[in-house]
């Protein structure tokens, strides 16, 4: 008595999954601006490919059951078969769900984590040594970025964060008042700015980009920090190394 | 009433001993780990004694009242 229903549900499931998996090809993500963004997008797609059949399985069964087995009269004309679900079905279910969970836990989870973390005791993402280190100070409700040569960029000076392409750029993040969070959507990286400890994130931009063309190139505060939290962002520009040097030079104070 | 009172006094005496032990561990033991363990074990012992003999936790899973 299960056979016909099982085949129908399987077909429905397959159909829904086929439609659902189209989501993988949709234009979901912001610009891919860094190695980290490539990793994020591939892991996200991988989880989407795995997750959609799970979702559609539930939908297929619920929809099929509601359409096929619903009572059409005013009152139930009888009871269903007293299937209690002892035996092998729950065990197989348990094995499959546990297998999926552990698989997801290990593969994109722990492996991805290992790729992100340089050491067990650090407070941040990515390599601890980088080509360029920028010290970031967050305050209500803006940032300052201190470049190694002493240049300081803020909303009033420079007005944008410029970094070179194809370099490891490390942001050492600090906060002087409340908890903020440094987030650059184009790089898919985020780390909180916590008063009293220095956190970091290292990114490796792979292509040129500019906020004026692409709004995902921005440093955005992602942790609620009070009144002007929503306005706490700065444009980001990724340039070639020579342009970067030129930009730094242009910001050098004339007198010193 | 004599028997429970005796129990109480014995427990009180052990509590006193454990408190002294704890204090001596804190003042006279140099090794961090040993001191920490000594203090923790004494404290746990005291807690177990109070919870079992004074708070009568066993009455929770005893089906019928017997006093």
């Amino acid at each position: 008595m299960h056979g016909k229903h099982l085949i129908s549900v399987a077909l429905l499931w397959a159909g829904l999954t086929a439609v659902g998996e189209l989501l993988v090809f949709a234009d979901l993500f912001p610009t891919v601006g860094s190695h980290e963004a490539e990793d994020f997008d591939s892991i996200f797609r991988f989880l989407l490919i795995l997750g959609i059949p799970v979702f559609t399985f539930v939908i297929a069964v619920v929809t099929y059951a509601a359409l096929t087995w619903r009572i059409r009269g005013e009152a139930p004309d009888g009871d269903g078969p007293p299937i209690r679900g002892h035996g092998w079905i729950p065990r197989i279910w348990l094995a499959i769900t546990a297998g999926l969970a552990i698989f997801v836990m290990i593969h994109p989870g722990l492996t991805g984590l290992a790729k992100l973390q340089s050491s067990a005791t650090a407070y941040g993402w990515g390599k601890e040594e980088a080509d360029l280190e920028i010290n970031v100070t967050a305050f209500m409700w803006q940032w300052t970025f201190d470049y190694p040569d002493g240049t300081q960029v803020s909303v009033s000076k420079g007005g944008e964060v410029v970094i070179p392409v194809d370099k490891y750029v490390k942001f050492n993040v600090n906060s002087i008042d409340v908890v903020h969070s440094l987030w650059i959507p184009a790089f898919r990286m985020k780390i909180d700015a916590v008063p009293g400890r220095t956190t970091f994130m290292t990114v490796h931009p792979t292509r040129l980009g500019d906020y004026r063309e692409d709004q995902s190139y921005r440093v955005q505060c992602a942790e609620l920090c009070g009144l002007d939290h929503g306005k706490m962002w700065l444009p980001v520009r990724v340039v070639t190394e020579s342009e970067f040097e030129a930009w730094l030079a242009s910001l050098k104070p004339q007198g010193n | 009433m004599r028997k429970p009172m005796q129990t109480g006094l014995i427990v009180a005496a052990i509590l006193a001993v454990l408190t002294i032990t704890e204090y001596l561990f804190a003042t006279h033991v140099g090794d961090d780990l040993v001191r920490f363990l000594g203090i923790t074990v004494s404290a746990l012992g005291k807690a177990v004694l109070i919870i079992y003999y004074f708070m009568h936790i066993y009455r929770l899973w005893r089906p019928q009242e017997a006093h």
């Binding site: 619920v62 269903g80 078969p81 722990l110 984590l113 959507p185 306005k231 | -």
Partner: protein, 618 residues
């Protein structure tokens, strides 16, 4: 009108207590030589404590409880009709309805705030609200909805249904039960007063140091939530004792209705973890008074708060959603006319979630700058939770398989719970995996995810329960057509709003902002329109409920032909619930088993009572 006088008098007493508390603290400060006796926030704390205490005494705690402390005889006022809902009534059915109505009002209020936010977010830039107004609206929406999610199902449906389902006459501690409800009005007053002190600026999570620096509305926020935590803890304690000790003879653990099991697991979570929220907010209050838990420059650490806070607030989502699962499974079993599939696995799932709930909190802190070695263990524990959750789905899907699905409004909502939570569960994987969470943390993806789990999982179950128990509670039937209209309207509106909300999150729109990047304008406009659609669906519900309560046709005792005990008594049930104590003979879901009986009423007066034996079905 005794009830009106009593409530007004209690409010007066509460106010007197509030000012008295302010004064007492001032006098104490003066005595100890502080330069400013009216220190401000510490006075408010004193006022709150005394005000809440006198309010409780005034509303009836003195007569029913306080007198006992002094060896005096206690008394209870039993008022007829609507007035009993406004007194310190110890009947669990009255308390359940008090909770339900109160929190539905709060729900619609907080929903209106959401509409305000969506109006602002329909377009980039600030149109209707300033940044500070937006933050206040957002914070209030958040905390009110958290309160609804924590208390509406547990306090409302749980209080009403659990004693009936286990065949008890009342909860184990009826006075405590009434106390938990009457602690709620001060909480509501405290939270709704926050806009007058500047508005909540820190969202419902109240992260320090922001919440230490912000305006004084934080003090009201903390005090309200600590008080609310108290109701949660005491209510949970009451449920656990009730379920352990008050079951009818023969109602073994293996025969317990699944909703009662879910309430049992939930109550343990609430009992054990709610202290975390209270402790976290207490530390905030102390920091505002000059302590230094979160001030980095003098040795504190802001992350301490996040650990303590999420120690409660992650288990809190299970407090919210487990009763939802329980209700969904309960209703699905009855309306599929089949035994609950894999009952033992479903129970194991609830207990498994209870066990794991305490060791997953730091997955909210993957980007917080906590040491790297914490990420792995919390990732693993978080993913493990999906295994027991999967068992709930097994139970639900196995039950509807080959069933006789009676698609009444409660069943539609219960199936929607399964549908919605499938989506919420799958998106949860993205947030549990650190590599994806780094980008998605604090974006609209998270907003979409938790609305799918909490609204889709719990609020849909709440509506399922309301449509399920409405005839039992009021003795009247609602319009089924309007209920179905409400279902489809809400279901479509909900999925349109929150499914779309994932997209701006991935694209880079963070939470809790009044203004966003202009490239997301079309998407946000669509979401706002869908949100208004969702909001409008509740008008149908309100009309249906109010009209049917007053004018609806009289309902039968057991309109759904259900086997569990609460349906084997009259609608609404008498004060003592059952005319005679029931004796349970078999499982609650044995549909289709020839000759099975759930319960009998051995000493029932034979005339005028239709219940026994509780076979249900035909």
């Amino acid at each position: 009108m005794y009830a009106v006088k009593s409530v007004a008098g209690a409010m007066g007493l509460g106010l007197i207590g509030f000012y008295l508390g302010l004064g007492i603290v001032a006098v104490l400060r003066w005595l100890f030589g502080y330069p400013d006796p009216w220190g401000g926030e510490i006075n408010i704390i004193g006022g709150w404590v005394l005000g809440v205490f006198l309010w409780l005494m005034g509303i009836g705690m003195w007569g029913m409880w306080g007198r006992e402390w002094f060896g005096l005889k206690t008394y209870q006022r039993n008022l007829p009709g609507w007035q009993r809902y406004f007194t310190f009534n110890t009947d669990h059915k009255v308390i359940g309805i008090q909770y339900l109505v109160t929190f539905m009002v709060v729900f619609f209020l907080a929903g209106a705030l959401a509409m305000l936010m969506r109006a602002e977010l329909a377009q980039s830039g600030n149109q209707f609200l300033s940044n500070s107004q937006y933050n206040g609206t957002m914070g209030l929406h958040g905390i009110l909805m958290v309160a609804v999610a924590v208390a509406a199902v547990i306090g409302g449906i749980g209080n009403y249904a659990v004693p009936l389902m286990i065949g008890a006459q009342d909860m184990a501690f009826p006075r405590l039960n009434a106390l938990t409800f009457w602690l709620v009005p001060p909480v509501a007053v405290g939270l709704l007063a926050t806009p007058f002190l500047g508005g909540i600026e820190h969202g419902w999570t109240a992260y320090p140091p922001l919440s230490v620096f912000t305006n004084s509305s934080q003090v009201l926020f903390s005090l309200s939530i600590i008080t609310f935590g108290l109701t949660s803890i005491l209510g949970a304690l009451n449920f656990i004792v009730t379920i352990i000790y008050m079951r009818a003879p023969g109602l073994t653990w293996g025969r317990l209705p699944i909703f009662v099991w879910s309430m049992f697991a939930t109550s343990w979570i609430a009992l054990l973890y709610t202290q975390g929220f209270a402790a976290a907010l207490l530390l905030i209050l102390l920091d505002r008074l000059g302590f230094s838990f979160f001030e980095a420059s003098t040795g504190g650490d802001p992350l301490l708060y996040q650990h303590v806070f999420w120690f409660y607030s992650h288990p809190a989502v299970y407090i919210m959603v487990l009763p939802g699962f329980g209700l969904a499974l309960e209703i699905i079993a009855h309306f599929s006319r089949k035994p609950l599939f894999a009952y033992k696995y479903a129970v194991a799932a609830f207990l498994g979630i209870l066990g794991l709930s305490g060791v997953v909190w730091a997955h909210h802190m993957f980007t917080s700058g906590m040491p790297n070695y914490l990420h792995g263990p919390f990732l693993v524990a978080t993913e493990l939770i999906s295994i027991p959750t999967g068992l709930i789905f097994l139970s639900a899907l196995g039950t509807i398989w080959l069933g006789r699905l009676w698609l009444k409004p409660p069943m539609l909502f219960a199936l929607a719970v399964i549908f919605n939570f499938a989506c919420g569960g799958v998106t949860g994987i993205f947030l549990a995996d650190v590599p994806t969470d780094i980008h998605l943390q604090d974006t609209y993806f998270v907003v979409a995810h938790f609305h799918y789990t909490i609204v889709g999982g719990e609020i849909f179950a709440l509506f399922a329960a309301i449509y399920y128990y409405f005839p039992k509670m009021t003795g009247r039937m609602y319009s089924e057509r309007l209920a179905k209209l409400h279902f489809w309207w809400m279901f479509i509106g909900f999925n349109a709003t929150f499914f779309l909300m994932h997209l701006p999150g991935i694209k880079g729109m963070n939470r809790r902002i009044a203004d966003f990047q202009s490239e997301l304008d079309p998407l946000n406009l669509t979401i706002s329109l869908a949100a208004f659609l969702l909001g409008a669906s509740f008008l149908v519900f309100i009309w249906n409920m109010v009209y049917s309560w007053v004018r609806g046709p009289v309902a039968e005792a057991n309109p759904w032909q259900v086997r569990t005990l609460e349906w084997q008594t009259t609608s609404p049930p008498p004060h003592e619930n059952f005319p005679a104590p029931p004796v349970v003979r078999g499982g609650p879901y044995d549909y289709g088993v020839p000759g099975s009986i759930h319960a009998t009423f051995p000493s029932a007066p034979s005339a005028g009572f239709a219940g026994a034996p509780a076979g249900g079905g035909q």
